[in-house]
Symmetry: C2
Subunit: 253 residues, 2 copies
């Protein structure tokens, strides 16, 4: 999702309190003294490159991870090499929350482009949350947000048409980039059509065809990974449910 592919080695050493993401990330709303305490336990590793794994399914759970720059996909690999893409993660987003319960990662995380990742050892974070109420609250919020988001995805996969799914996907990326100070209408996708389709429960060919059609209809311009949103309004209408999704009977009881 790089607006620019250059990443500064400088920047990855910078602490939370100087990080531009602080307002989106774990430190959100903390007092500066508390941010420093959080800072102390965060490890910043050298940048990872396209295809590198942050963790894989089955690994012992030790830490949560935050994307600092770049982008990451999480996916559930199955025996036969097939997989389900579970999410795409942009800077400031927390990864690994699903591993706490089983003490084992239940999905894998792979870097989609050169990325910097912050590592947060969970046991130490847990200790810290017990003594910083606002950090504890932030953790509950982040966990809850993840649940609410997956709930939205369930609705998407259970009830929406292919067009709606793509529209939701594009608007989601667009909004998230915007929050990070990037253009909401002109960006590069760091994931392949295949990965998009997998994520949305669609075949690659369907994704490709719909992108083409959206372009013909003047909703967007597509050139390879480069996307320009031309008509946000129409995309939003599509999502709203103008083209009435799939089966929507009235309910009972």
């Amino acid at each position: 999702m790089s607006q620019r592919k250059v990443i500064s080695l400088e920047s990855i050493r910078v602490a939370c309190r100087h990080c531009t993401l602080a307002s989106l990330c774990l430190p959100m709303g903390l007092e500066s003294g508390d941010v420093e305490r959080l800072d102390e336990l965060i490890k910043r590793t050298r940048p990872l490159h396209r295809g590198d794994l942050i963790f894989r399914k089955g690994d012992r759970f030790k830490s949560l991870y935050v994307v600092k720059t770049g982008s990451v996909k999480t996916f559930a690999p199955s025996k036969e090499g097939a997989e389900q893409v579970l999410g795409f993660h942009l800077p400031g987003e927390l990864i690994g929350l699903d591993a706490i319960e089983r003490d084992t990662h239940v999905c894998s995380a792979k870097v989609l482009e050169t990325s910097a990742i912050c590592e947060i050892p969970f046991p130490r974070l847990e200790e810290l949350t017990a003594i910083i109420p606002s950090l504890q609250h932030q953790m509950y919020r982040l966990l809850s947000k993840e649940i609410a988001h997956e709930t939205d995805m369930l609705l998407l996969l259970g009830k929406k048409s292919a067009d709606e799914r793509l529209a939701v996907f594009l608007l989601s990326i667009s909004k998230r980039l915007h929050k990070r100070g990037l253009s909401s209408t002109d960006f590069y996708l760091s994931m392949s059509r295949h990965e998009i389709g997998n994520y949305l429960g669609l075949a690659v060919e369907t994704v490709s065809r719909i992108f083409t059609r959206f372009q013909e209809e003047g909703l967007m311009r597509v050139d390879r990974k480069h996307i320009e949103i031309l008509d946000v309004r129409s995309l939003e209408l599509l999502v709203g449910g103008a083209g009435q999704s799939r089966r929507q009977h009235q309910q009972h009881t």
Copy 2:
């Protein structure tokens, strides 16, 4: 999901420490002193009846809820009266976790049969978790578990065939009843075919047809809401992915 429809008015007054669910529920693993402190903040209301709402989407978030007896569905209502069923909840299961972030309920919860519900005011719970580390850990675990579970559902809705979805559903109910000391092979469903289909992203007719076919194949016996699982092994094989789901290409990068 009632093995028996009779519920004892006596039992709903009983505190956590005498509750048979304690080992599945929030108090899991707590010391008895801590259970008592938790007990003090839990409200137990009179039983609700089929169709009653525990909360509805948009309500201010104040409490989490636990099913004590009976069963509950959560669903996201949409403007036009259509809805997406998000989950079915059995005794010991916590509801409302997705509301923490927005401070507002993002789905509604409706009782499927006469049920007793425990209410846990969240602000007080949050205070308590800050001073009882094992309770805090338990909360993280429960939130994480919810995420991991929804992740499984994403895979189900994104990649699995109708047969697999039904098999997963039946085995899930079966296992959860078993954990609660009930029969895993002989039970009553408290939800309608319509709700099952909605939950699994299938039309009612498809659910009905597959139940009929499963019966013809000797996997189960179906009589209205009454289910008898005859061949767990085969259902498990179905889930494993014998009938190879949907499109499962190899992946890239």
